[in-house]
Amino acid sequence: MTISIAIDVGLALLVLAVAAWIIAVRDAFAAVVGFVAYGLLLALVWVRLAAVDVALTEAAIGSGVTGGLLLAAAARLRSSEAPAANERPGATLRVLTALLCAGISLGLAVAVLSLPDPAPTLAPMAAANLPATGLGNGVTAVLLAYRAFDTLLEKVVLLLSLIGVWSLAPDRAWGGRPGPRRVVRPDGALVFLTQLLPPVGIVVAIYIFWAGADEPGGAFPGGTILAAMWILSMLAGLVEVPAISRRSLRVVLVLGAALFFAVGLAGFFVADAFLAYPMGYAKPLILVIEAALVLSIAAILGMLVAGPPERTEER
């Protein structure tokens, strides 16, 4: 299949060129647009690497939500002056850095080329234990059964980073709403898009989450799509950004991690180990946890993009 090889080589060169351009270009906004393209191309690379689950997550997070976040930041920072010339490292330093970085790349490349053959893999074990989980998708099984502990801690990391963002709020705005007040703009195309897209997006998100049990999909891309739809509605002024002190918001934020943790603790009593699922109940439990995770991921990502609170309730 020479066409396949040609496509792979072309795609790799394209990603490399876009990445080099992102580093080299002067204008910050142009670099961010390049980054959106980079995320999209990486999603294609993941498909070529037969990692469709990763491709879905990359498509949703990498080019979608991260792109929006960075473009919005670039827009708000446009008025800031360019860094002074004396802040740029000198030519000698740059050459030295380039050499060092090239050395690191070279070392990694050697490591990639000298990976053991045959490759060590956990795929047979993952496949052999799939029937016990009732799932059909190995990646979902790893995320929510075999390595559930990692996923639980990752939820905690997400919450911690949200607390980090909130802690940047000025004292007077604590407990208030992030971002400026937004009004619905009388603008045909945008209103049309922001009213039509979220319902479709919610359906797609639920489908991706549901398919995740047996096909590529799952809580991460599902939750991210939901987050993107929420962000769109908030930006368009169709939905108010919730105040961070609101109890219902906080419940949704911790719901995923809390339920995950509770099921994990229950594992001590019903299945002899933390995060062990009782026989025969693995799949329903996993689906319930995943549903909670979808909601929590959507809420956390949405609030992360919204940023620290800036205005208090009474304004």
């Binding site: 072309g10 394209l14 999209l40 469709v52 792109g67 473009l71 703009r185 797609v204 991706i208 930006l235």
Partner: protein, 103 residues
């Protein structure tokens, strides 16, 4: 029965996917040249559409229907970055006369 043709068809679809990908890659030159933000957004938009078409062709050529879902997510979020950008720069009191837009 299409035993004999299906392999050739897969090869053709893969070739078409490569062609579309190559085209939008060339279109990325507009990202390099600019000169305005509008031009850069255009080439990103073209890359998005081309990437979606490439994924649809791959899904068929390699018989992996799950790849369709990736295309679906990309299509859903295709406008997200641009719209987020526009909405976050504009203030409520926007000076643009939107009604005068012909399109």
């Amino acid at each position: 029965m299409r035993w004999d043709t299906s392999a050739a068809m897969a090869e053709f679809l893969l070739g078409a996917a490569g062609f579309v990908l190559a085209m939008v890659a060339v279109g990325l030159l507009r990202l390099l040249r600019g000169p305005a933000d509008a031009d850069r957004m255009m080439s990103a938009q073209l890359l998005g559409t081309g990437g979606i078409a490439t994924l649809l062709l791959w899904a068929d050529a390699t018989a992996t229907p799950a790849v369709l879902d990736v295309a679906l997510v990309l299509a859903l979020l295709a406008a997200f970055a641009s719209v987020a950008f526009v909405l976050s720069v504009s203030r409520p009191a926007d000076d643009e006369p939107s009604t005068k837009d012909g399109r």
